[in-house]
Point group: C2
Chain length 161, copies 2
DNA sequence: GATGAAAGCGCTCGCCG
DNA sequence: CGGCGAGCGCTTTCATC
């Protein structure tokens, strides 16, 4: 029986691809020449391979990690949300709404006790409460929320290993 | 009464800093010259300002976002962990341990019903179970865990706005 | 702190082994 | 895929304001 085609390719990465990914994860602004050197390939080859990683959707973007505290957002919260059983059809619309709300760093859509979890940045606790009241509790589709304060957050990113 | 000094500075960002942050968040591999152009400043100034953003800890790193599916990690889980009341002193050691475990994308340390939440990448559900059994349940400090499957995950990053 | 000019270096591209 | 070379664009430093 033939293998099913997946929408998102499982991806074929050789050792050099893995080196490139690891290097670029550690420093996305590394020059192409140093990258090539680290991978042990020619610069011309390196350009092609990096472009290939991007076009194959393996690298989704190059980004700068910004310290939230530097933006005056010293508080973080995790907010669990449950949707009313009768309002489950509204989940797709709701999730798009939430995703683009300011200070929403990330959103998890879950199977399990909670329907989703929102990771929020805030200046202070009033800020968190305002978010919950205005953006969540006010929505008739929302059955309940539960807010936990985040004392510490570590983001590693997907390890290439 | 004088303001208390904070370890992490609340940061002073002008409009140009905000443009640089937004641009670099969107594309960390953007050239300095185009960055300068976008911000309306001289290239030489731009280099200095970007370096300053990094040295002030406002930009913590430049990184490449890698698609987990491309690495063959098509499954994601969120694992809530509670520590035994008697083992709370071991939390600092435990959290370091967890943070560097393979496939742990991020860890939240919480105040509230759960002690922390682990965001895990996995190949399949066996993989998730193995992680929980070997790395969590086996640890005497762990009182209980609860695993939720992640159907969808959106990461925005801290918005500069 | 910002600027422009100039020197040096890095990047890209096509072509060929 | 790697190497080479030409051409161009980019980065960095420094004197200057």
């Amino acid at each position: 029986m033939a293998e099913l085609k997946r929408i998102q390719t499982p991806a074929e990465l050789d050792d050099i691809d893995r080196i490139l990914l690891a290097q670029l994860q550690a420093d996305a602004r590394m020059t192409n020449s140093r990258l090539a050197q680290a991978a042990g390939i020619a610069e011309s080859t390196c350009v092609v391979r990096v472009r290939s990683l991007v076009s194959r959707g393996i690298i989704t973007r190059f980004t700068a990690d910004v310290n939230p505290k530097a933006l005056g957002l010293g508080l973080q919260a995790l907010i669990s949300v449950n949707i009313r059983p009768g309002a489950r059809t509204q989940i797709p619309a709701f999730r798009e709404e939430i995703r683009v709300m300011p200070r929403v760093v990330q959103v998890f859509f879950l199977g399990g006790a909670e329907d989703f979890i929102i990771h929020l940045l805030a200046e202070d606790s009033d800020d968190v409460r305002d978010f919950v009241v205005e953006n969540l509790s006010a929505n008739p589709a929302v059955a309940s929320t539960r807010t936990s304060m985040v004392f510490e957050h570590h983001y590693n990113g997907p390890g290439v290993g």
